[in-house]
Symmetry: C2
Subunit: 352 residues, 2 copies
């Protein structure tokens, strides 16, 4: 993809579920990654920890990391609430001192820290706050409904369930099938990978849907498909507002539900996760008040499943939910795209 | 209530629906209001325009307004998106120049405008940005469920439908009935009237529910009732995220649905408003995933109804929805409080 030389900071968390930025960047931009900084798994290589991808070095200290000649330090862990842990500040300061670009998706903006800014100014280092959003966003008014492209929103049965990955796989599959398709990131990982889009969870509450609407309007022209990365979940105690705003602002034509079949309790709050058919019905209902958007398929998050387990879960969920269900990382998202196309064709036929 | 001397800026909009701040401040704090600035209705008195309250002067210019010896200029109109119209900037500058406190609920912070800040510093005037929120808010985690007080959230069948007014009337009725009750404002008008609370629509999206949770935890101790002012509506294209975050963060014991029976299309987007029973079912369902919160009654917004019309609508909605329905401004919210108490008693009995 690009030509950056990225060192990923995943201190103490590499290979753990909440180091999702680190994991996703290695999955989709490994050729740009020079190594990972994590004193816990240091000495191993990234493929040993993750079970996929190339064998990139894991180092214990920034000094060892700098020996890999990175030009970018990426904060690859997303702590709850997005605040900057104190112990990282020193490390970030040292990376800037060494002239690196530091890219951060934290809510705490590095660029608002006068000390870090001064160091960067002195050394020629740069600060990229991925979550910084424009301050002239609109209030949504259903304009995303006007685009010609087929807009697809990924939604989830929990937060941190693989919506970014599913969105990326849908985009790649659509392109493999000959469609023009754009990936619209709404979270820090996608933003780092792709550049376009904005961090929807950082937007002022009144403008969540407006930001989503704007992103759809900006990205739709000239594309067959717009794949919007979902955030949170409609039933997440902390993030449900973001999820609903994104749904009502982006006005998708179809929704793809991302689900981890082995996850019985939600990650942050340990709430029992509702059955898939309930999620489908809920999402279709909440969309339909403004615009019908069938849940055309389920993207299975199979990070903890082997191929035969993932296939078995797919069959089970298809039977239960009456929708295509596939692990897009293992098997590609082609069947999910086919289901979207079929659903759109049916809708168009009905309208005639 | 307080001892301010308030001049309300409602230029071009006084008596119109979106001048709700002006209307509500006159309804609940008329003794603090010296007059209204609106060149369109100037020459009349406020009671002639609003149909209630004392006869306060309406003036056409700031100069005439200053002759009423105000100490505070309140921006009493909420334009869509909350931006500062250019033509008001000059007027605000002049008010600050005259040493007034200027209170604003706009998204555009007056305190971020160097020119206005400089004028205030010179004249001794003050700027109060009601929508400014703390930047250390938490992510919600269902802690609002722990409080002993009965938490009541007002929810609405549209934005700008009277949730602030209903919340205030519920609080006043509960107090008249001998309960200790606190009003938790979440919008600029309530904040100006009361001081506590915060502008939930201004919060960064990740913290909507967290802010609601914090407000409930802060205000519950020592009170029988906490009345949380709702915002937006679950089906509003622009503001549904705020509404859902507020519901999931405040974890109410009961919801009161605010409804304008004559409003057939939603204000901003002209979407057909769903029937009341649909709203009740939707709200009860969205709450129940985290905690059951029956819609115990409907607060009728009867601003355009006379007493007999409001009573007739109440009877009709009660029959249709099977819930108490009353215009709390005309008839008091006592019956709505009784319904909440009865519902809570039934829940407690069931648990035993």
């Amino acid at each position: 993809m690009g030509d950056r030389r990225i060192l990923i900071l995943a201190e103490g968390r590499f290979g753990v579920l909440d180091a999702k930025t680190a994991t996703c960047v290695i999955r989709y931009a490994a050729d740009e990654v020079v190594g990972v900084l994590d004193s816990v798994t240091a000495g191993q290589t990234t493929d040993q920890v993750l079970g996929f991808g190339p064998a990139l070095p894991i180092v214990a200290t920034l000094e060892e990391g700098l020996a890999l000649s990175p030009d970018t330090l990426l904060i690859g862990v997303a702590p709850r609430g997005g605040l900057l842990p104190d112990e990282w500040r020193t490390l970030i300061a040292a990376a800037l001192e060494a002239g690196l670009t530091v890219a951060s998706g934290l809510h705490t903006f590095l660029g608002d820290d006068p000390d870090l800014v001064a160091i960067a100014a002195r050394s020629g280092g740069q600060i990229i706050d991925l979550r910084r959003v424009p301050d002239d966003l609109p209030v949504a008014s259903r304009r995303a409904d006007e685009v010609d492209a087929t807009v697809v929103l990924t939604v989830g049965t929990d937060c941190n369930v693989g919506k970014m990955t599913a969105t990326m796989e849908l985009t790649l599959a659509a392109r493999r099938m000959g469609h023009s398709a754009v990936f619209v990131p709404t979270g820090q990982t996608g933003l780092f990978l792709d550049g376009r889009g904005l961090a929807i969870d950082r937007v002022i509450a009144d403008f969540i849907a407006g930001a989503a609407e704007m992103m759809v309007l900006d990205n739709a022209p000239g594309n067959d498909f717009v794949f919007v990365e979902g955030q949170g979940s409609l039933l997440h105690p902390g993030y449900s507002g973001v999820a609903l705003g994104l749904l009502h602002g982006s006005m998708p034509d179809a929704q793809v539900l991302v689900h981890s079949p082995t996850r019985e309790l939600s990650l942050n709050d340990e709430i029992e996760i509702e059955p898939v058919p309930e999620w489908i019905e809920l999402h279709e209902r909440m969309a339909a008040y403004l615009k019908p958007a069938p849940v055309t398929g389920i993207a299975i998050n199979g990070w903890d499943l082997d191929e035969s387990e993932a296939r078995a879960w797919g069959e089970r969920i298809e039977a239960e939910a009456g929708r295509v269900a596939v692990d897009p990382v293992k098997f590609g998202a082609e069947r999910l795209i086919e289901a979207i196309v079929a659903s759109q064709a049916a809708t168009t036929a009905e309208r005639r």
